[in-house]
């Protein structure tokens, strides 16, 4: 079932025209950052949704990230629902970081606790170069 969902999600992304209202030029297109952390909020809003997570650091502290997604209308058409992620969920996020170094980025995909991998349908997603996780 998970597999089927993944296939459907990929098909939806491949088959749907993904057009943009906004420029995503302020995000780094040359590398991705992989964050593993605990969700503090999944905000289901327009113009874009946000996923807030706390990420444990090597020194024992926690760093907070607020990760931008796409429009909830686009996400809904790709199969997303507002209850798919909850506070407390441990997730892994691949994001294109903000160029200015602030603790934020554009989500390219998220892996949920049950292993489901979802994409929010970023326009021209192939223009973001994916790099391996640092750890």
């Amino acid at each position: 079932m998970t597999k089927l969902f993944q296939i459907l999600a990929v098909l939806a992304v491949a088959g749907a025209p993904v057009l943009a209202h906004h420029s995503f030029a302020m995000y780094d297109h040359t590398r991705t950052v992989t964050l593993k952390g605990e969700v503090t909020k999944f905000q289901w809003t327009n113009p874009h949704a946000y996923l807030d997570i706390d990420v444990g650091q090597k020194d024992g502290t926690t760093k907070h990230y607020s990760i931008e997604m796409t429009s909830i209308n686009m996400m809904t058409r790709l199969g997303w629902r507002s209850n798919m992620i909850k506070a407390g969920d441990r997730v892994s996020v691949t994001m294109a970081p903000l160029l200015n170094g602030e603790p934020s980025g554009l989500m390219l995909d998220v892996t949920l606790p049950d292993g489901k991998k979802l994409e929010p349908g970023v326009p021209a997603v192939q223009t973001f170069k994916r790099t391996l996780p640092e750890d």
């Binding site: 209202h21 030029a25 327009n46 113009p47 686009m74 934020s104």
Partner: protein, 251 residues
């Protein structure tokens, strides 16, 4: 008397035919539609794409010399800003609707609603609405307050909805092309197949353009789709003092 009778008959026939033409039901274009045909591959020599139901390739505008530099400089500035990672803020950054004719790009699904005397078009993104009044005379440009969607009148010519739009604010630009208050947008909206709708748009502006240019959009019927609401509830993007797109980061 015979000539008179024949004349009356001819007039009656003409009136009846005219009435029949007038009352022929327009095609049903009501419902939800999604943009279609822009990714079907390279256009062939005649401008058509591989799939015959996709529209011809849109034309580039030819501007008068006085406006050409401003237009090219603007396009170059957008390219440079994107390359630097500091994009120039568009209206969308401030959650403003695209206006006409950009709304008809249908970045998100659009809906046509046919009601007596009016065709209404709704674009899901930014909840944009335009109203096309049917069988009304167009106003004079100077009698229309400029807006995002302008003043649209239309009528059915057979199976084609012919629409005339004036009164677009000069800062509401289609693909960064400057325009004057004399801009006029003509549309021919018709079904290419029962489930593919074309919008053939001609943009005229005797002040800015050397000649009118045509752009084309096609839409595919979404029979089971209901347009979703779209409210800019938490817009963290903003336009800074230099006109650059920025974003607040919640910490």
């Amino acid at each position: 008397m015979r000539i008179f009778s024949f004349g009356v008959l001819a007039i009656l026939c003409a009136v009846t035919l005219g009435a029949q033409q007038k009352t022929a039901a327009p095609p049903n274009i009501s419902g939800a539609w999604e943009r279609f045909g822009f990714n079907l591959g390279q256009p062939t020599a005649d401008g058509q794409r591989r799939d015959g139901t996709a529209p011809p390739r849109s034309e580039q505008p030819t501007l008068k010399p006085a406006f050409q530099k401003e237009y090219q400089d603007r396009l170059a500035a957008i390219r440079d800003a994107n390359a630097k990672g500091a994009p120039i803020a568009t209206g969308a950054v401030q959650c403003l609707g695209e206006g006409m004719p950009a709304m008809m790009q249908a970045t998100f699904p659009i809906e046509f609603l046919q009601s007596p005397g009016q065709v209404t078009v709704i674009e899901e993104a930014f909840t944009q609405v335009r109203r096309i009044r049917l069988d009304q005379p167009q106003k004079k440009i100077e009698d229309v307050e400029p807006g995002f969607y302008g003043h649209s009148v239309g009528h059915w010519e057979g199976d084609t909805l012919v629409v005339d739009t004036i009164g677009i604010k000069e800062n509401i630009r289609y693909q960064n092309v400057p325009h004057s208050d004399q801009m006029r947008i003509r549309e021919k909206i018709h079904l290419a197949t029962p489930d593919i709708l074309w919008d053939e748009i001609t943009i005229e502006d005797p002040v800015v353009l050397e000649k009118p240019f045509n752009v084309y959009y096609a839409f595919r019927r979404m029979p089971n789709y209901t347009l979703l609401e779209y409210i800019c509830e938490d817009n963290r993007e903003f336009r800074d003092a230099n006109g650059i797109q920025q974003i607040h980061v919640n910490k």
